[in-house]
Symmetry: C2
Subunit: 124 residues, 2 copies
DNA sequence: CCGCATCCCTGAGGATACTG
DNA sequence: CAGTATCCTCAGGGATGCGG
C-alpha cells in the first residue's frame, strides 16, 4: 500500500513506543517486574482490563521481546508470563517518565484550570 | 523485600502520559524545542499530520501546559506556538525513552523475527 | 484454566470544503 | 494564514460464547 515514506522523527521508534507505552502495557510490565504471573493473576491485578485486551497486550509485549510466555503442560494448561532481561531495561525509562508525571501533575492540573478559565478571552 | 519504590500507575498518570506521548506530540515537542513555530511551519515540519490532528494535538498540549499559543494580531493573523518551561522539563524523560528505543531496537527486531518464526512451528 | 472467535459500538483521525 | 465543520473509515476494545 504505502511505498517509501518520509520518516518524521523516528517512525520505527514511535511505533515501538506506541506498542510498549499503550493503555495496559505499563501496568502489566509493572506487575511482571514484581513477580511472574499467570493469566488470571494479571486479570486480578488489573481488574479493568478485559480478557481480550489483556491477551492482545500480552501478545504484543511478547512479540517485542519484553515479556516471555511459558506454557506449562500440566492438567489444565497453566501459562506463566515473565519479564525478560530486555523488559527489565524498560524499568528505568518508564520510571523516569512516571517520576516526571508525579512531580508535574500539580503544574499540569493548574495549566488545565487556566486553560478552561481562559476559554473566553481567546477570541479566535 | 527491597525498599525501592513501586511504580504506581493510576488513572490520572496514565491519562497524562496518553495525552503527551501520543502519535504526534513527540514530533511537535521536538520541533518546538528547537524554535517557536507557526501553525503552517509545523505542518511543513511534520508533513504527515493533517490540520485537524495538528490542531487537536496542539490544543491538547496547550491544555496540559507544555506549549503556549501566542496570537499576534497582525494583518493576516499570525499564531506562534512555543514550548513552556514545563514543556522543557519533558525533554529529559522523553530523551531517556528515545535513547532506550534506539539502543534496544535491534533486540526488539530480533525478538519480533523470533516471534514470527516461532508462530509457524508452534501452530498455535 | 487459558484464550480464541464473533458481534458491535465508539471514537481517533484522514480527506475535503469553507470562513475570519 | 489559521483554523472550523462535515463526512467517512477503520482499528480498539467491551460483551459474550466456545474450544483445548
Amino acid at each position: 500500500m504505502d511505498t517509501d515514506e518520509e520518516l518524521v522523527i523516528d517512525a520505527p521508534h514511535r511505533e515501538l513506543l506506541d506498542q510498549i507505552l499503550d493503555k495496559w502495557s505499563l501496568g502489566i510490565l509493572n506487575e511482571l517486574c514484581e513477580r511472574p504471573c499467570r493469566f488470571n493473576e494479571l486479570r486480578r491485578a488489573i481488574p479493568q482490563v478485559t480478557q481480550k485486551s489483556l491477551t492482545a497486550t500480552l501478545r504484543r509485549l511478547e512479540r517485542n521481546g519484553v515479556i516471555e510466555r511459558k506454557v506449562v503442560s500440566t492438567r489444565p494448561v497453566a501459562v506463566m508470563y515473565l519479564i525478560t532481561p530486555l523488559g527489565k531495561t524498560l524499568r528505568h525509562p518508564v520510571d523516569v517518565l512516571l517520576a516526571w508525571a508525579s512531580q508535574n501533575m500539580p503544574a499540569v492540573e493548574r495549566a488545565r484550570r487556566d486553560f478552561e478559565a481562559r476559554g473566553e478571552t481567546d477570541g479566535l
